[in-house]
């Protein structure tokens, strides 16, 4: 799987928001996604996960300045015209948003929202599009799709709506699906169902999935590879198995240590935490941004910026855990 050409290749993506003080929301993010693969992008709130996904789609507001390269298939999307991007969005590259309660238009039936995309990109007729919409609803596991297709969003539960949102996103069989926190707003049992849908799509349709999440449980459940971000920068990038087995960056280790484990009460009755605060992104630091919170930090960490290095297990750290350490 590793040897096939990536369908989405992102290189040195950087996003800055100009304003009173320039904010460096994303800085130096690179990743590849191959067909049928799930790449999880992990990090805490405000680390640039969502901005990265919007930058890939070219959906950031005009105030944002995007540099770097985003290649989909053989095509460069960074700097492409709005018309080119519009032709790609929804057909080759689509997105599932976090909040299923608000991602569907309340005044249109479920069917209309699916057929709209089909008719736009595949120029299907009214009847064909409707048939396809019914198929898509059953593909994402909605029971009685023939009835549901004429219902309005308020008649569906949160989990159902998220399935519909996914159906809209995969309607044109995109090469890449970006799912931004698709299960965050859902109950745990419903989460599992939605993740299964995503999982079956990549095996059945070969869709490459970029899964943005802060939930490490979701990552362990679905991801093939994981990119960990901190303060807008990538800090570690490895296969999911390797990352969970032997995390190398102190931040990743901190994240994993902070996950409560059922059955084993935390020492001293308190969950492990990473001391300190996320830095403000208003200046582009020429050093490791995690240094102020890191117990391994020395002079080098506060004066020089580490870049992701390694063969298959990339880590941006001057003092990484040696490979293979659990």
């Amino acid at each position: 799987m590793i040897d096939t050409e990536p369908v989405l290749r992102v290189r040195d993506l950087a996003v800055t928001f100009a304003g009173e003080r320039t904010v460096h929301a994303v800085d130096g993010v690179s990743f590849d996604v191959r067909a049928g693969e799930v790449l999880a992008v992990v990090g805490e709130s405000g680390c640039g996960k969502s901005v990265t996904s919007l930058a890939v789609l070219g959906l950031l507001p005009e105030a944002a300045k995007v540099t770097g390269s985003v290649r989909l298939g053989g095509r460069e999307l960074a700097g492409a015209s709005e018309a080119e991007l519009r032709a790609v969005r929804g057909s080759e590259l689509s997105m599932v948003f976090q909040e299923p309660m608000t991602s569907l238009n309340p005044v249109l039936t479920v069917g209309r929202q699916i057929t709209e995309v089909l008719r736009r990109h595949q120029k299907l007729g009214r009847r064909e599009a409707r048939e396809r919409a019914v198929e898509l609803l059953s593909l994402v596991g909605i029971p009685a799709p023939r009835r549901r297709v004429d219902e309005y969003p308020h008649q569906l539960s949160g989990g159902m709506r998220q399935r519909v949102v996914i159906a809209v996103a995969v309607a044109c069989d995109p090469a890449v699906l970006i799912a931004d926190e698709p299960t965050t707003a859902l109950d745990v049992t419903v989460q599992a169902g939605v993740l299964d849908v995503l999982d079956s799509l990549r095996t059945r349709l070969g869709t490459a999935v970029v899964l943005i999440t802060h939930d490490l449980g979701v990552v362990a459940h679905t991801a093939d590879r994981v990119l960990v971000m901190y303060a807008g920068r990538p800090v570690e990038h490895a296969t999911a198995d390797e990352l969970f087995a032997s995390p190398r960056h102190p931040y990743t280790r901190g994240l994993l240590a902070a996950v409560p484990r059922p059955g084993t009460p935390p020492e001293g009755g308190r969950l492990t935490e990473i001391p300190g605060m996320v830095p403000a992104l208003t200046e582009r630091a020429d050093h490791c941004t995690f240094a102020p919170r890191c117990d391994r930090a020395d002079e080098r960490c506060t004066t020089a910026r580490p870049h992701p290095e390694g063969e298959r297990h990339l880590v941006a750290c001057w003092h990484p855990e040696p490979e293979g350490t659990p």
């Binding site: 789609l57 959906l59 519009r86 032709a87 790609v88 969005r89 929804g90 057909s91 689509s94 997105m95 948003f97 976090q98 909040e99 608000t102 991602s103 569907l104 238009n105 309340p106 005044v107 249109l108 709209e116 995309v117 736009r120 990109h121 308020h154 949102v165 809209v168 996103a169 309607a171």
Partner: protein, 289 residues
């Protein structure tokens, strides 16, 4: 029926509207007005322009229910035909205001920046003038006629429509489903007409029901001032102005057209308020009380 149930989301809209007191009262009077205006030639017992000097300045009675004016014209027929002029202007002016105002508001709200600055500055400037003053000024510039009065009133209503449409666009365009439409390849046309406009309908509908009574009052005012309907054509405003010299001797000449104006505007305002209450899910009153 259970009130809670009547106010519920699944209750059909017409039933929620019918359960609302102001909507019912205002709506009934408004419908009577619309019907009277539409069927004026059939309903009016006399030709509204025919003078009968034998019957001049008669009070209300059997042959002339609402009396006659100084030229002996039948007041009832003139009120019915006057309502026709009022309704024509009321509806056409609002239609005109929407045809111009809604696209401007949508575009201003969607593109923001330069487009919005231009549209908003112009509407702000127009809004600085009181509505009636603006309508009178425009009608005076355009010249006296019913068509020009309609245009003047319509244009005066535009700034308010632009404001509502723009505010709704600004609110809706940041919602997830609009972002999702963009993410699935939708352009400005799809976003504005498939997603923003249908969701802005209730706000715009309320604006329309508020616009109609405003237009009716303006038509009466413009006609009163001689800038709207020209005598001998009947209009409620023309009747009021003609009644001025006889206000003491023949008060019915002023009272009946006055009542008609008040009833029409009150009815449409009640209707508008009620519709807003029913359509606004966050409003204090809902459905049947």
């Amino acid at each position: 029926m259970n009130t809670q149930l009547a106010a519920g989301r699944d209750t059909p809209l017409w039933r929620r509207l019918a359960g609302n007191g102001p909507v019912l009262a205002g709506g009934t009077v408004a419908v009577v007005f619309v019907l009277a205006a539409a069927a004026a030639p059939l309903l009016a017992p006399y030709d509204p322009a025919r003078a009968d000097f034998q019957a001049a300045l008669q009070g209300p009675g059997w042959s002339h229910w609402l009396g006659t004016d100084d030229l002996g014209r039948d007041q009832l027929s003139r009120v019915i035909h006057g309502a026709r002029a009022s309704m024509q202007v009321g509806v056409l002016a609002v239609v005109l205001a929407f045809l111009v105002g809604v696209p401007l508001g949508l575009v201003a709200g969607y593109y923001e920046r330069f487009t919005d600055s231009v549209v908003s500055r112009v509407t702000d400037t127009l809004l600085a003038f009181p509505f009636l003053v603006l309508a009178v000024g425009l009608a005076a510039v355009l010249g006296p006629s019913l068509l020009n009065a309609t245009i003047a009133i319509g244009v005066s209503l535009v700034p308010q429509v632009v404001r509502v449409a723009r505010a709704e666009t600004l609110r809706l365009k940041h919602l997830d489903y609009v972002q999702a439409a963009l993410a699935s390849g939708g352009g400005p046309g799809t976003v504005l007409f498939r997603h923003v406009l249908p969701n802005a309908t209730s706000a715009l509908l309320v604006q329309a029901t508020v616009g109609i009574p405003a237009a009716i009052i303006s038509e009466a005012l413009l006609s009163f001032l001689g800038l709207g309907v020209q005598p001998p054509d009947p209009s409620l405003g023309v009747m009021l102005s003609g009644a001025q010299p006889y206000i003491a001797a023949a008060p019915w000449m002023a009272v009946f057209p006055g009542i008609a104006i008040v009833a029409a505007t009150l009815a449409f305002n009640l209707l508008g308020d009620g519709v807003r209450d029913v359509l606004d899910p966050k409003g204090p009153k809902r459905g049947g009380r």
